[in-house]
Symmetry: C2
Subunit: 492 residues, 2 copies
């Protein structure tokens, strides 16, 4: 069924009245046995004055100080790193069940998810010469190891993945390819997209040309000496070679040495290995709605983290933001009519296992997901409100943004992705709201050992909670919905 949607229709939002979503709408109408009419456009008021006043009070309450910092502190202190399938991941699931239970969430439950289990082992990258220099490096997530004997070879520097792809096999056969492209600091983290492909696709591009290993400059913005890990993948047809990242200062050192010594050699060793898949779980908890409890506003974040750091920003902060936004709403006198569902996804980092499983099991309930939001770019603050909803509901999005004032949040586009874990839901047609967080500092610590609680500013986190709480409350009280998106195949 999904494959029948023509490519040009992909990701194009459609209103509830559009032809493309007629079948989905029909199904929805059948499922919703009670409640007001959904397809009402913008003529009727989206919210009562009381709803808007409550949202304002909620915002002010959050800005006075929330428990979000305490949530993330508890997660990183009591659990710490929680790579998919690891003992830390298991401890994180227990932590989340306990935490949601204690905070008064209802329907607290797990959804079992099978996750890949990759073990980093040890990493050694050494610059050879009269006095060998150890470099600060990380084996990229999913990389094969080097074997006990390691790899020793000459290094060839290239400027980018594109430059590598344009090279001849003869230039790099039996050598180590070093992709030396720096990620620039930007407020919205847009430069991540430019450089992350070095990490994800570099090994196969180099392997195809006969290289024995890949080394990239970390996809990160800081000059502190931390290597950034992150997932890489192998093309099925390419020779598999081990892949590493260097911290920015170490990439500088390597590049400086190469300027005067073209014969420079590196020694690489990694004991990384793949284990059989392991069980993890999505953890779910709800703030039940009143008269439209069957309709869902989803708040998502991911519970897993990379193994090197504490996962305080990625994604302890996101967990804290969505849990605290929902908790604050649960304390209101004026309850929302829809249910707010917090989903703490398993294994975002290593392939979105939890998000895919959630969507796989969703069944008829998918049509009841009125709006989904995710928090997965650190602590914030929210700088822009983007969305992907049916165009006739953009007025409502603008009213939601107005309700967040005086927070300085600008309006944004209506072609937001909503975040990685919302991909499978969005492909089913679920509209998304995407509060864009200030990521100026996020990529300093992203996927590094340095992702710790020391980087979490409680006041900034409170601002982000305020925006999420307002948005979730208004989505859960809105008269009518946000339409549906055109379903598209999900292929990530």
């Amino acid at each position: 069924m999904l494959e029948m949607v023509p490519p040009h229709a992909r990701r194009r939002p459609v209103g509830t009245g559009s032809a493309a979503s007629f079948l989905a709408l029909l199904a929805l109408a059948v499922q919703l046995s009670a409640g007001p009419a959904l397809a009402q456009g913008t003529q009727l008021a989206d919210w009562s004055d009381a709803d808007l006043a409550t949202a304002g009070a909620l915002r002010d309450r959050a800005l006075k100080g929330t428990s979000a910092y305490e949530h993330v502190s508890s997660l990183v202190t009591e659990v710490g790193p929680r790579l998919a399938g690891s003992p830390g991941d298991e401890a994180a699931v227990r932590w989340a069940m306990n935490r949601l239970g204690k905070l008064g969430f209802t329907g607290v439950r797990t959804q079992d998810v099978l996750v890949p289990r990759w073990i980093r082992g040890t990493t050694e990258v050494t610059l050879l010469g009269p006095a060998a220099q150890p470099l600060v490096a990380a084996t990229l997530g999913g990389s094969i190891g080097t074997g006990e004997e390691g790899i020793e070879a000459q290094v060839v520097e290239v400027a980018s993945l594109e430059a590598l792809t344009a090279m001849q096999a003869g230039d790099i056969r039996n050598k180590v390819v070093f992709i030396n492209q720096r990620m620039e600091r930007t407020k919205d983290g847009a430069s991540y997209g430019t450089t992350v492909k070095n990490r994800t696709q570099g090994a196969s591009a180099a392997g195809n040309l006969g290289a024995v290993a890949l080394v990239i400059r970390s996809v990160g913005t800081s000059d502190e000496r931390f290597a950034h890990t992150g997932r890489m993948t192998y093309d099925v047809s390419a020779p598999r070679i081990p892949a590493f990242s260097l911290s920015n200062p170490d990439a500088d050192t390597l590049s400086r040495q190469l300027k005067t010594n073209k014969q420079l050699r590196l020694r690489l060793k990694s004991t990384a290995r793949e284990m059989p898949p392991a069980w993890s779980a999505n953890v779910i908890g709800e703030i039940p709605g009143t008269d439209r409890a069957g309709e869902i506003v989803l708040l998502g974040a991911h519970l897993d983290s990379w193994d090197l750091g504490q996962g305080a920003l990625d994604d302890g902060a996101g967990v804290a933001i969505v849990v605290e936004a929902a908790r604050l709403i649960s304390r209101l006198d004026r309850k929302p009519s829809r249910t707010i569902r917090v989903v703490l996804f398993a294994n975002e980092e290593f392939g979105l296992s939890g998000a895919k499983e959630y969507a796989r099991l969703i069944g008829d309930e998918q049509a009841k997901h009125v709006l989904a939001m995710e928090a997965d770019t650190g602590i914030g603050p929210v700088i822009r409100l983007e969305s992907q909803v049916a165009p006739e509901f953009l007025g409502a999005i603008e009213k939601m943004r107005a309700a967040m004032q005086p927070l300085p949040i600008e309006g944004g586009s209506n072609n937001a992705s909503g975040g990685a874990d919302l991909g499978p839901l969005r492909s089913l047609g679920v509209p998304v709201l995407d509060p864009v967080l200030d990521a100026s500092l996020y990529f300093d610590v992203h996927h590094t050992m340095n992702d710790t609680l020391a980087k979490v500013d409680a006041k900034v986190l409170d601002q982000t909670v305020a925006a999420y709480a307002v948005a979730a409350y208004l989505a859960a009280t809105k008269q009518g919905d946000f339409g549906r998106l055109a379903p598209v195949p999900f292929n990530r």
Copy 2:
């Protein structure tokens, strides 16, 4: 002879006319067969107008841009870490000989120095619990290892070395002592003195009370996740136990866990070990003086570094500052009458071996050392000019400071130590000038893996070079000297 100086006279500067230094002065007068009278007070002009004008031109030349950054870049790129007695240390000696030679220094030579050889090996500190958390830690320099089996024990937190010393043995017998005292950020690094004793004396204080290991919060100011190493020592009478430091974020994590779990256990493992002493060398090069070439203005820095980082700030920057200051002076048309001697000391970090050896071999030449300066607190800029000279020469120090204008350098005390490597010389009576460097950021990276070229700001380094060059040139052209200090025993 040194032992005969009464304690109350220690470190008290004395003028060339004072009774205490009469013998030294007599020796000096005999040695100096030619040249103007030395003991002339401040009645005569210290410098000619031409000297002062040259100093000003030198300052302006340095502020326009120097080669200091290039020196430190070369050292950390081509050599890297250079712990005393290591292959890197050996490479650094070769590097320095080459560099001074190429830059046109004369009398480039080494002075062999026997240095202790300590090997860090591997360090593992793990916080035990449902999901074990690895902590970022460093074995302290000079610590014994734990043996292959490691140590696992309960942790007891104490606030300071003083608090530890006041405890009863029963409270910490068979436990790991955790000294959790934070070094505060200050401009002159004064807080280093408050906390460094946890590192140097903590293990023996804990060992005396029956502890099995010591863990300290790093003596450092940053919230980046780096552990600070540095030298520790054992009292001869105390049981020797292994000693570690934790990064600030990891000390935070440990302390937070201890708040709710008093039974918390750590697992510690270190393969640190002591090897037989090894040979290293002081590297010396000179810019020869004209009519008073036998008199020496000494510029010192240390060539060794800790093993974890690149030693860019500690003390690559210092090496670059003194080498470049001397090089700039060598390019002047108006040469200084005294010789400027650059001494790149061996093994400052692990016991001042090079500085002690230099002083041990100095013989009669000690009286010809007119003034000594050291650079060993990073890149700068210079914020204050301190000294330890005979009081009647403070007017000359003030004139030297005036010649550094418009650099915003304030006047300072006359009880400066001058720096660790100048200790042995100062104890012989050599006056010191101490340009105090802004150390606000220095202790963020001091003794960590993060001490890299990325922390070196070329413009700031140029300012520091300007101040050192002016001071060295004026010291080497001054009519008369700076008196002598009362000799005291050197016991560090």
